[in-house]
Subunit: 219 residues, 4 copies
């Protein structure tokens, strides 16, 4: 089993949303035709018997340096949210627990070989005086027919609670994850910003162009 034993800072939105919306993660944007600052809900949710697993992307945020350059302020992530079932087809959206997958953790899932497993550990209070009080671990382990169990464990030593969510993910659902994670990875890294560039902005100053097949000549 591949085991990534590093603890990283956990990121989880507050639970202050009203109930019907708490199913979704939010991000703001001013790039829509209909509104200049709409919140958009685009979760992919898997409803299973004991819990539901909801997946949504978080874009990186940028900050400006004194020189005017844009720098990644907070890295992007894929947010996994687990909701416990409280009856047939009913879930308690107030009792969610979440886990934000980094670029490298996404790489681990995108490249996960069949029948292999992996595990990630996060500490939401890392580098603060509360470090170690809450420990989260996400385990992805093989299920029959090429599916996986996604198990989130949250141990809070202060509140003396120990929560555990397990969602069986079929191969089809895992393929949706891998495909959408591959799509989102460059966005999470901030590399998608390149796609908004036009050739004019990268226009060379001089106009003499030398075609150079020589450079690529194979010897």
């Amino acid at each position: 089993m591949m085991k990534l034993t590093r603890f990283v800072l956990s990121r989880c939105p507050t639970k202050s949303h009203t109930r019907p919306l708490s199913l979704f993660s939010t991000y703001s944007s001013n790039a829509y035709g209909s509104s200049s600052s709409s919140v958009l809900y685009v979760d992919y949710t898997i409803f299973k018997g004991k819990a539901a697993l909801s997946i949504s992307p978080i874009l990186p945020t940028f900050a400006k340096t004194s020189s005017g350059a844009l720098i990644v302020d907070k890295k992007g992530a894929i947010l996994l949210k687990f909701y416990p079932a409280i009856g047939e087809r009913k879930y308690d959206y107030e009792k969610k627990q979440c886990f934000a997958l980094s670029a490298t953790e996404l790489g681990s899932l995108i490249g996960l070989a069949p029948a292999k497993s992996c595990e990630f550990f996060h500490d939401p209070s890392m580098k603060t005086s509360n470090a170690g009080q809450v420990r989260k671990s996400l385990s992805v382990s093989p299920l029959s027919e090429d599916g996986y169990f996604f198990t989130l464990t949250v141990v809070n030593s202060l509140l003396k609670t120990n929560e555990r969510f397990t969602v069986p993910v079929t191969k089809a659902e895992f393929t949706v994850m891998q495909t959408s994670f591959s799509f989102m990875l460059p966005y999470i890294m901030g590399w998608h910003q390149l796609s908004s560039q036009s050739p004019g902005s990268n226009l060379a100053k001089h106009s003499e162009v030398s075609l150079s097949p020589n450079l690529e000549w194979n010897r």
Copy 2:
């Protein structure tokens, strides 16, 4: 054989289009330079001896909540349309039957291993008083040389009809499907909306930036 035995609501456009256009699915857009509300036809069609299979994407639609947030109203899909052959290289576009693949069903096809099969069941009248009257099933089963048979069966217990379309899909055509399905999946999930964001919209309020290699330090 992987068998997904859930019945889901079927979605199929009406058959009111005139004949030359009925080959194509439609969606409206106001983002083209030439026209503010053009209908665009971009089907990928496979013409075979007994039937033709036409594939086109359907984007999700969004609705605004009272708080101004955008929420997915109708999920996107990939629409498969089957047309029976009525002669050499002639198809009856009036007698089409269709099947809308959801994100998870697309995941099933994208991740389909060689020589494996899968089957999906839809009920167009699910959750209405007509539930169970029409039952559609799409079966994808292996063909020689890494291709697949796509078979759509539509049983209408009210009209007492039983239609069946079978299209042999070569490995090359199936690869076109898998590649274009992988491309469309994030669009169908609504995640493509992220791509229209600029870094300015995600600009952090504060300007102190701390580079933190420590967080990613490997131990």
Copy 3:
């Protein structure tokens, strides 16, 4: 060996370009910041001992129907251009021969298994009185170390000429092809037009939104 024995209409630009530019395919666009109708040259070229192979995309063209809908007029393609070597690191750009790969042919190459081969046949004069006079075939056959030989044969029965170009393509170069072909495939199919849509354009008319986990409930 997978053999696609259908003959399809061949498409090849005229040879009227001046020499330094004839290395590249052209397409017009009015979407650049610097100019409203620039021609852009973005070929990926492999220079080998006996010939060079240059690859560039051709977007589909659209036409308007009487109802105002946009319909694909000419399908997109990936254009392969072969140039014979006429000395060390010198190629005769006047004597090029080309071959336009369709979506399905691209699928064949994207999904080509190691050590497998495929072959395509085109007739540039198909469906005209000159049909059969010129026959082109592109053969992709395995080379040592996971590479492939790309061989284009052009037989002109009218001019009684028989041209043959062979370019050895390494696995790295073939991976560039497969990756860029996968990227371009949705563009060639016209599906990329969806990416320019904003959620506002797909906004549902009614505003009552029902979250329906039931539809995706697994039984």
Copy 4:
């Protein structure tokens, strides 16, 4: 072991950046909402015990020919930057060495089979009077558990220096590379410029549209 023995011109930015920013590669753009010419830093960095490896894309630059066409002036690349460790979690950003991966070299890494290795050789002064004075080689060789060692060797025969950086890359980190390299490859080739085109710009002049299933008829 696959060995690409061609020497290509090496490209490396100058080391004149101030320290906090020298972690990042830069490119200019005028396509952001917040600023018309911001510099953007979007490196993906792997911090390991003896060195750090930072990865960022470089877009191609375009030049205008006398006829007004846009032509690729400098090809794009993925820039690898290596920084030596000078203490626990501290790196010397002044002593970096870099290596710019071309499209074909990216293809080599994207298609690298498990447990295989590859090696690239660059000469920053190729085709100048200083050719051969500095020789760079990047070796990617298998590590346990499907990871790879990335080793950069820079031999300067003039300064009589011999620098060597080795960074162990896990399978998860390598998957991030492969996924982001696949995403960037069309951008590096300049093919992404097609994505900014609207159907209107490719509108055919005539309006008679013939649907031609015959062309795709399978025989």
